[in-house]
Amino acid sequence: MHLHLDALSLLFLGILLPQVVAGAMAGMRDSVTFWVFVLGMGLALAAADAFTLVFGFELMSAASWLLVLRGDQKPATLYVGVAIFSAACLVPAVFLPAGPIAFLLIVLGAGAKAGLAPLHFWLPRAHPAPPAGVSALMSGGMVKVALYVIIRYAFVVLAPAAQPWWGGVLVVAGAASVLIGALRAMLETELKTMLACSTVEHVGLIAVGLGIALRAKAMGDGAMAGLGLEAALLCAVAHGLYKPLLFIGAGEVKHSVGTTSLNWLGGLVRGMPKLGLLMLGGAAGMAALPLGPGFAPEFILWHAAIAAAGTGGIIARIGFTALLVVLGLSAALALGAAVRMIGIGFLGRPRTLQAAAAEDARRWPLIGMALLAALCVPVALLPGLVLYALTPVILLLAPQADAPPLTYAPLSLAVLAGLVAVAAGFILHRYGVRGSREVPAWNGGFGKPPPWLPFGDPATQPSATGFAEPIARAIGRGLLAPGGADPAEAFLLTPLTRLHLRCVRVAERLRRATIRQRLAFIFAALVAFLLALGLGEGG
């Protein structure tokens, strides 16, 4: 067991640290399994040899399985199955010589753990299961550790054998994750499941950035490699801040209201103002809105994709054009998902009495969230500075990387907005009528609700399901499996389950065979063996 820290490990440890603190504040401080989980992630990140890396990775998997199991039995089985698959790919891969097989096994093994399509189906089931602090760390930290393994091997360990198509593999898998993740985030009504789907989307964005960089590095294009890496690493940093924040917030909603189904929430900002504002900040990051933490990575990634579309063969160019469509669609879907989360869950009228009576979040989780939100501020307003801090990592991964300077300047935009705000405020204050009056809602001329329904009839309010239904109709039908199921689940998991069942049946029949059948079987095997031997000798 050897440990060694370089710029890449330090960056990912830095991404991990605030989440661990926030997760511990969110009620996981006394759980031994939680700390073993953290230890496993730390070991995997600080490992200097392949054995330590795999040991840490599996320690992380095992501990998180226990944590998932404590939350919910059903996804835990699926989770441990995927973890075993990922180990089965990783363990041989780290000991293989550098080459395409090692790379593909790493992408399969670590990608399954990170939630890259088509092996992402477990993530929206398993991540919401454990308590919020653990969900936060799984979504913000564990997938990053898996991505770290991909980065470490694709860019450093296997670098001498790298070829441009390796990047293509990552881009395709990433684009599929982005689209499916964003679409499912728009359609899910359960808050934590929705956040987990959004994690799939962001993992996809990081993978697309990494893929573009890997391809550009193999082709010797320093500018594009720099852009891709900047996008991927900045996205990893930002996502590691706002996603744990949102997960902890979802846990507090669960604690306070008793449910996280958006269809049973509503108007939470009234009872939980602090939580509501923090969630609004997190949602701005998730939706990649300008002046939020999520915009700069998306900005760089779009630039990288546009630059990539100008290079390579015509098929690759057309592929990158399609990638741009996917990125645009997904960005707007992510925006819709974030608006739906805030608009349906936190604004509007309460849909249940529990939602109406919600009280603000407990103190320690709120402090953890505030810590994450405070760290989001520099990422949101000074992305150039964060990119400067990332330079050693980028140079470590691609020594020829040379990205053009960032042309997105949030501070200048904020100054412009401030100037407009001052001018508008002056006009409204000087010439306008001040103050406001509270009245019953106009609601297109419908009357006031009756006194026995203090918040009006909840059924007249748009629901989360109804809000997403048109998108399910316009896009979901084409992209999702019948019944709105995840395509990976319907076309990969279900056939595998069926195959497994069939094999089990055959095995069971063999086990239950009578003595006569067994003797016949052994006799037939003997005859076949002798026949083969005889034919082989004769030939």
């Binding site: 990649a288 925006l335 604004l347 306008g432 009528v433 748009p462 316009a474």
Partner: protein, 321 residues
């Protein structure tokens, strides 16, 4: 050096002042011309100014089911549109805001305004606002995809994606009339019509709440909140006109450092705006509003045209045309 900076500052201030002052007028011209085209007399062109002043003097009502953030959404919407309008070059290139005018930043600011409006629609928790919000979300998904792929076409032709850079490149380089740009224009017009809430996707003068999109989200707003939202809608129309003008009709744009070119640039900018303000109502009266679920098909065609524009460019680069 100092003089150049001073001139650029002056041009920027002039651009901002004109944009903010002319936005209601453009909306008024479009409304009046539309009424004429329909055979009605229509309001005077300065009616939007009067409406804005009226809203300034009206009391602001807040529904009792709304949360504390009710008045924050109009401010967020208006501010992001205003910043975006300051970035898009109007009569001249080389403004002080030019380095910021990345097309993706502008798309982000428009998305921010859209998100704020949608949240405002969901705020009171009544059906009409929610219906407007989900329609906006649906349209936005397709519009953003189409816009990003059109951007690829500009990026390849102009070797950069700041609006200012695209305008300069298209003005000075010999791009000529290409099939790709034609497709890109068609796609961009479809997106612009959707984003500004015009026929065929939305009807700005509709009076039936069930069929509204943009207006449905504003139903509960009044007084200064409504003023901000309506003014943002006017600015958005002018912004899209300037954007299309800067990219597809960049001829005759002045340079900020050359004060003698300003009058010509100003005149041409006003002419371009006027031409677009004539074409828009003519198009609107000659077509009908679409069913909600036809709009994704409309924008899907735009997306396809954007992709085709890119692919044609690749093929052209391959065969050396």
């Amino acid at each position: 050096m100092v003089l150049a900076f001073f001139l650029r500052l002056l041009a920027t201030l002039l651009h901002v002042a004109l944009t903010f002052a002319l936005a209601p007028l453009v909306m008024g011209v479009v409304t009046t011309l539309r009424a004429w085209a329909l055979g009605r007399r229509g309001p005077p062109v300065i009616q939007p100014y009067r409406d804005l002043y009226k809203m300034l003097r009206k009391a602001t009502l807040v529904p009792d089911t709304a949360t504390e953030l009710f008045s924050a959404w109009p401010v967020a919407c208006a501010l992001s549109i205003a910043v975006a309008a300051m970035l898009v070059p109007g009569f001249c290139t080389g403004l002080l805001t030019a380095p910021l005018s990345d097309f993706i930043t502008i798309m982000g600011l428009l998305a921010l305004a859209r998100a704020a409006t949608m949240l405002g629609g969901l705020e009171t928790g009544f059906g009409f606002g929610g219906a407007g919000a989900w329609r906006e979300a649906l349209y936005g998904v397709f519009a953003e995809g189409a816009l990003l792929v059109v951007l690829l076409c500009f990026g390849l032709l102009a070797h950069g994606v700041t609006v200012d850079g695209i305008a300069v490149a298209f003005d000075t380089q010999h791009i000529g009339i290409s099939v790709s740009l034609g497709f890109a224009l068609a796609a961009m017009l479809a997106v612009a019509l959707t984003e500004t809430g015009r026929i065929p996707t939305d009807n700005p003068s509709g009076h039936l709440e069930l069929a509204m999109v943009h207006e449905a989200m504003l139903l509960e707003y009044s007084g200064r909140n409504l003023l901000l939202l309506n003014y943002a809608a006017m600015l958005r129309l002018l912004l899209w006109m300037s954007l299309i003008g800067a990219i597809f009709l960049p001829f005759g744009m002045a340079r900020a450092t050359d004060i003698l070119s300003w009058p010509g640039g100003l005149l041409l900018w006003l002419l371009k705006l006027a031409a677009m303000a004539v074409v828009l109502p003519l198009y609107e009266v000659s077509s009908a509003k679409m069913r909600v679920f036809r709009v994704p098909e409309f924008l899907g065609v735009a997306m396809l045209l954007g992709m085709l524009a890119g692919i044609f460019l690749f093929v052209a680069a391959r065969i050396g045309a």
